[in-house]
Structures are given as structure tokens and as C-alpha cells.
């Protein structure tokens, strides 16, 4: 087969449509869930598509726009099908109830498996292990897709977007959200979500706070929260007990790259996703990646954009187009945590996406090539919760060497 796309969320579907439009026909989307749409299926709030379609859509509405295209174009997809393995030579092993365990040899592969939430264990919170502790996404699924309430009085740890959205959702469902605690001195979510999901409902956001202990034998009965110092260590004496029956965790998303590892793809230590060039091609030729499997996005609009690049470039790869007229590595100063892409191998206009590691005001992003400033962008405020982008013009891309991304700011 020419192209296999792993994952039928917004990234996978956009990539498939783009590849189709670039002429690929012998292709297939593989999705483990029982329907296309990925995580958007459970995101019934609106706020999707503002950039791309100029209107506020709900998650399922946004997904439907692409699902409709996939179906109209007749792009084949297999549901209830889990990919078990990808080899470096692009042999894919998958399983489903109808076909059993089967393999497909592909010319090109697009990885679009999305991400997963960081669980409690990773935080090592002391205390008991009662019912009532969920990741925010699991709670979202229970409420929005199954119609059940995980609890009635809630503390949320972490101010990631799903946590903020769930603070509002649980409140609307009649639960009391007692606090959202955030370890960092700033929120990891979008500013608009803080406004619309917390402030509008008078839910307190406690920055520089964490949950230090969990209580309750069978069902959660309360948590103890404490302030943390600048090294993020709990300050003794600041503990406060909050009775609650539910603790939701929104403490970070991790790109799902178990399959990428089996394919021998180099992963970035910062994003947790593959290292890619401007085409979203990984270090294994013919394997591309897009969406949250590559780096965690805050807006689905950017996912679609990135996926289109991957789809189009995968199509070019299949028909044998190999453009390589540069070999440039993108480096960052640490204030900028990472860039995607991490490499540029072709001189074309490249949108470089990045995230910062802290909140900065009066920021200026400078890009240097061999000590020469080639691009610069000012921004009143940058924050870890919001992805940024800077365009590098093709004529400014060197043949080789480094592009250095630096952030100047007052902090």
C-alpha cells in the first residue's frame, strides 16, 4: 500500500485528505476507536476552528468537517483496529476483530496517534488509593460520552486546558469545583480558558499550589494542598485540607510514541514526539508525523495545518520527489523550549512553531543564522500554555549549520 495513516483524529483525517488531494489513492486510515474523530469526540464544548473556519465549532462539529470529506472522497479507513508495531522498513502490524492480526507494507506512513494524559502515579502523591481520582480526560469521557458523574465535589490539580474545561463542565453539571491547583506560578492552559472556565464561575485558581496527600479508604474523602516554593517543593506548614470526593488531574499530556520507538524514529527529549524536518518527516525516511503525537497543540486549527503539510509531503515522497538543498538544525536558548520542525532540509518558507518555558512580558523572538539576525518578532506576552509561530523566509535559510532561536524579555 502506498500510504497508511495511523490515527483517525483531526490530524490523521486532515493528512489523509491532503494526501488524497495530492493524488494518493492507495491509502488507508487505521483508527483504534469505534469512530473517526479522536479526542475531539468527547470535547463537546465550543472554541474549535476559530482560526481555520472563522467560526466557533464544538469538537465533534470540527471533526465532522473532516470526517465528511474523508467519506465523500472515499478514503478507506478501518475502525476498531489497533496498530501493534511498525518496523523501520514500514511494515505495519495491526489487529481487529474481523481481520485478526494482519500486516501491511507501506511506502509511506503518517503517524497521527495523538497523546495521552500524565497519570497520578507519575506525580507520586502520597496517601491512599481510593476511587474518585481521574485524569481530566477520563472524567470528560465519563461525563460527555457515558453520561455519568465521577463525583460531586471536586479539586482539580493542574491547569491544563482539559482540566479548565472540566472545571466548567462539572460546575454546569451541578458539581462544586472547590479549587484548581497549579504547581507553577502560571497556568498551563489558554488564557481564554482561564477566563471562560474559571473566572466566569468564580472557581479559585491557586497558582504555586499542589496536592500533597490523598485521603479516603474506599472513595476519596479529601485532599491536602500546600503552597510550593520557587523550586516547586511544598512549603511545610502551608498544608490545607479540602474535603472532596473527586480529584481530577490535568498535569500534562505526553505524545504517544511507543510505535515510533519500534520504528526506530529519533524522539525529541523536550516534546516527547519525533524529531522532524519542515515536511514533518521523521528521521526514518517515509515516516511522517503530525498533530499531538508530534508535539502537544493547544489549538486544533494548527493540528490541521500541520497535518496538511505531512499529507502533502508524504504524497510527494510516494511519487519519488526528494528535494534536499539544505541541512540546517534548529536550536533554542532554553527559554524557548523547542521548535517544530527541528530540522530544515529544503529552502522554502517555513513556519516554525515553538513553546516557551515560562511567562515573559515584552518578549522579542530573535532568530540567528551564523550570528546574523534573520528574523524577529515582538509579542507583548508569551506563556507556556500557548504555542507560538514565526515564519522563516526561504531566501534566509542557509545551506547548512544552525538556526538559533532566542527569546529576549523582561520576564
Amino acid at each position: 500500500m502506498e500510504l497508511v495513516i495511523i490515527g483517525g483524529g483531526p490530524a490523521g483525517m486532515s493528512a489523509a485528505v491532503a494526501a488524497y488531494e495530492s493524488g494518493v489513492r492507495d491509502m488507508m486510515i487505521i483508527e483504534r476507536d469505534e469512530a473517526l474523530g479522536g479526542i475531539l469526540r468527547q470535547c463537546i464544548h465550543n472554541g474549535f476552528g476559530l482560526h481555520r473556519f472563522g467560526e466557533e465549532l464544538t469538537g465533534p462539529e470540527y471533526a465532522w468537517k473532516y470526517e465528511k470529506q474523508v467519506k465523500e472522497l472515499g478514503i478507506p479507513f478501518k475502525l476498531n483496529t489497533t496498530v501493534l508495531d511498525i518496523t523501520p522498513d514500514k511494515t505495519i502490524t495491526a489487529v481487529n476483530p474481523e481481520d485478526g492480526v494482519f500486516t501491511i507494507k507501506a511506502k509511506a506512513v503518517i503517524l497521527a496517534m495523538g497523546c495521552r494524559e500524565r497519570p497520578r502515579g507519575a506525580l507520586n502523591i502520597a496517601g491512599t488509593r481510593p476511587a474518585g481520582i481521574y485524569s481530566a480526560g477520563t472524567a470528560q469521557k465519563l461525563v460527555n460520552m457515558k453520561g455519568f458523574m465521577p463525583g460531586r465535589s471536586v479539586v482539580i490539580l493542574g491547569s491544563g486546558d482539559i482540566g479548565l474545561i472540566m472545571a466548567r463542565r462539572m460546575t454546569l453539571e451541578g458539581a462544586e469545583v472547590k479549587a484548581v491547583c497549579e504547581l507553577m506560578p502560571y497556568s498551563g492552559g489558554l488564557a481564554r480558558n482561564i477566563e471562560q472556565c474559571l473566572n466566569d464561575f468564580k472557581i479559585p485558581l491557586r497558582l504555586s499550589h499542589t496536592v500533597v496527600r490523598v485521603f479516603g479508604k474506599e472513595r476519596l474523602t479529601g485532599v491536602s494542598v500546600a503552597r510550593v516554593d520557587e523550586n516547586r517543593r511544598p512549603v511545610p506548614g502551608t498544608e490545607e485540607y479540602i474535603p472532596c470526593d473527586t480529584l481530577l488531574l490535568s498535569v500534562g499530556l505526553i505524545p504517544e510514541n511507543e510505535l515510533s520507538k519500534s520504528a526506530g524514529i529519533a524522539l525529541s527529549g523536550v516534546t516527547g514526539g519525533p524529531e522532524v524536518n519542515q515536511d514533518r518527516q521523521t528521521t526514518v525516511p517515509g515516516i511522517f508525523a503530525c498533530g499531538n503525537v508530534l508535539h502537544v497543540h493547544d489549538l486544533v486549527d494548527f493540528v490541521s495545518e500541520e497535518a496538511e503539510t505531512a499529507g502533502k509531503k508524504a504524497a510527494e515522497y510516494i511519487i519519488g520527489i526528494r528535494k534536499k538543498n539544505a541541512d540546517v538544525t534548529l536550536k533554542t536558548d532554553g527559554r524557548i523550549r523547542y521548535t517544530v520542525p527541528q530540522r530544515i532540509t529544503e529552502k522554502s518558507d517555513v513556519n516554525v512553531y515553538f513553546r516557551v518555558g515560562d511567562v515573559f512580558r515584552g518578549a522579542c523572538i530573535n532568530v540567528y543564522s551564523g550570528g546574523r539576525l534573520i528574523a524577529s518578532r515582538k509579542k507583548a506576552r508569551v506563556a507556556p500554555g500557548e504555542m507560538e509561530v514565526i515564519k522563516i523566509k526561504k531566501e534566509l535559510i542557509p545551506d547548512s549549520g544552525e538556526l538559533y532561536f532566542e527569546l529576549e524579555a523582561k520576564k
Partner: protein, 484 residues
Amino acid sequence: MAAEGIAYYDAAVIGAGVAGAMTARELSRYDLKICILEKENDVAMGASRANSAIVHAGFDAKEGTLKAKLNVKGSEMMSRVAQELGVKYKNNGSLVIAFDEKERSMIEKLLIRGNNNGVRGLRIVEREELRRIEPNISEKAICALYAPTGAIICPYELTAAAVGNAMDNGAELLRNFEVTGIEKKDDVFEISSGSKKISARIVINAAGLYADKIAAMVGDTSFSIHPRRGEYILLDKECGAAAVHTVFRTPTEKGKGILVTPTVDGNLLTGPTSVDMTDKEDKSTTDDGLARVKRETSESIPSIPFAKTITSFCGLRAVGSTGDFIITSPVRGFINAAGIESPGLSASPAIAEFIRNMLLEQGFSLKLRKDYNPVRPPMHGFACADTEEKNRIIKENPAFGRIVCRCERVTEGEILEAIRRNPGARDVDGVKRRTRSGMGRCQGGFCSPRIMEILADELKLPFEAVTKSGGASLMCVGKTKEGR
């Protein structure tokens, strides 16, 4: 004879931990009507759920003690038992490392003790060989006691399999049956749990932390049990290779010292701490304890990547007041298997045999059953099958082609099997322990709603009645506005 209207059994085993489970399995070889009484909603909810999962070689316990004798014997039996029960078992060997000359003299003493206990193949390995066989070991370790017979096993898998095998051979499991009273009437014991009552001629007290309470019900107050906390940190499978052997620190009087070990499922396990407690129900972890686990295990193996922690948990050791296993019979037909602290898991097959022999000595006639089958097909049969076999199974039952837990790749077929097969899972944690679903990186984030659905369907429960681990541990509290 038993009073009318009360179910009668030849033998009642109180406690479905590994000791009770193995004993029930041993007794199920004979023509006996057996029940296992368990206060929780599932088997292996006590010490047999949360421990180091080590089949100890047998060099720790003092010469001449029951602990020493039954450990060495049990450890010899374990590989066969594991095979019969289809339980994963790996003979990875263990090391007790010494950091200085004082510790060297300690492990030399252990070597002598082990030899006296009858442990095979013990020897001291010096720095260079140690580094070769355990590549990530600390530079500071000067030598180690090597025990080639040391092994690892999954304790709750072993317990569930032993109970399952006993049930396949006719034993009954009564859950949520917390024994609250025992009355001896002629030659039978009437055992009650609140208003529920059964009677039995033989009673095995394998109630773990509560064995003292049960013994007192027949007037035996010769011992007491107190809990000793042990906290652990479990790491991702990515880290499983950080240790090859089970690596112990030199023991102290409180226990075997903190260890680092691979698990049979390929994770890395670090712990336990050792803190005396009073509350037998307090299984909480503490900041101090977890910090200590990290600190001390990092001294043994400096490269442990604690950032890849999956979960932490706490187990309570049932420490007996005599210092040894307490396997005694205060009244004919009533046998204590108490104070079964470490190496109780390792010793469990030998404990079961020992108890059977006591019954024989007391004049109970045990007639072998003709149809007894010691074999239980493995729970992880599907996972271990080759592609051809998997496809055959999927064709027969498509549920095996539907992956529910993506991290551990557990199929719907395996989850259904875990619920349907003896002793069937009744709650989310029960499914988790049997199938490993929810034990991987995402800790059930993705699959728990689906598992709740399957449980509700299979057990014919409303969705909101599904629990995490029985009792009041409800996963949900009701319907949403729209769902109502």
C-alpha cells in the same frame, strides 16, 4: 452435626491471601467440600497484593525456624507450582550487596546461614564479577552474596490462580464474608459474618493481619499481629532492564533492606520501607517513605529513572509476636497460619503442605479425589500466543481482536475471561490485577470507562454501581443532567 439451614463444609479457609489460597488448593486435592471466606470483594487484597514479589532463596531466616524451613522448601516447589497454575515465574537470581567491610562480614554470615538452611549455590561475588552480572550496580558496591535460586513471581496472579484452581476443583469462594464470630459446637465450628453463617469441621485461619483476632474467637490469645508498612515505587517497563537480578541492600534487624528488582511483567520495582504501625487499615504512602525508597535504591543502582514512575503503593506486613511463622493448632481442626510475613509468599506452597500434614496428624482422613486437576490454563495465554494462534482465537471469538487497554494491549476477550473465570473479577481493580489493563503508562486513563461498561454488562449491574475495589469505592456517583 451442623445446625439446620446452615451451609456445611468440610473445610473453611479464612482469608484469600496467598497462604489461604495455597492451602485451599492443597485441600482441594482431597474429597472435601471447601469454602474460602474473604472479607473483601476480591482475593489477594491483603499482603498478597502489595509486596516485593520475590521468591526468596532462603538465607535470611534464622536456622531452625519455620520461616527458614518453609522458605527453602517453598522456593524449591515454586517453579512447578507456577507452571501448573500458569503463572509467570522467572528465576533471575538475587544479590545482597555490601558497601563496606562491615557489610561484607554480614553477608558472609548470611552465606553460612543460607548453607545451613539448605539453600543451593550460594556464593560471594567480588566487585568485578558483580559489575559484569549486574551492569548498573553502584561503583561503591564491593561484593555481593549471589543466590542463583532467587526468583520473581506476580503475587496476586499466583493467589488468584491458586484460588481459581481450588474453585475449578470444587471449592467455593464467599466474598464480602468478614468472619466476625466462631463458635465450636461438638466437632464443627459455626462461622458467622454478621447475620451470615456457615459451618465447617476444619478451619484454617489465614486472615493475615487479623489472624490474631480470628484465633481469639476460639480462645487462642497466645500471639498478636501488628502491621509494618512497606512502601514501593513502580517504574515503567522501559526501565525494567535497569536491574537483572533482585538487588538487596544488606539486611538490618527490621527487614531485608530496600531492594531493586525487575518484575515478571518487565517493570522495575523499588522498595520497601519498613515502619511499624498500629492501624491495620492504613495503606497510605508517605512523602518520607517514598523519598527514602528513592534515596536508598539509588545508592544500589544510581541510574534508576524515577521520572518514569508509574505508581507507588504500600503493603502491610503481618508481623507476628513470636518472630516466626505461627502455624499452630489451639483446638483440633482449627489451624492458624499466622504471622506470615516475608518470606510468606515464597513459603506458601510449603505452608499448605505443612498444614495438610498437621490435619493428617490430627486424624482427619484425607482421601485423594480422582478427578483432581492441578493445572490451570494461564491467564496470559492470549498475550503469549503466536500470530497464527492469536488469529485462530480471534476467529473463534472476535472480542480477542478488540484492544481495550492500549498501554498493556489487553483485549476485550481477556477482560471478559477475567470476569468469567474463577475467581471472577468483580470490580475495576480486579480486572486490572488479572489482565494488567490499566497498569501501564496511562494507568487506566483511556480504558477504565470501557472496563466499567464491560463489568456492568457482565455482572448485570447499573453502570454507576461499578466499584474500584468493592464496598463503597464507587467509580461514579450518578448520572449527568442529560443522562438522567
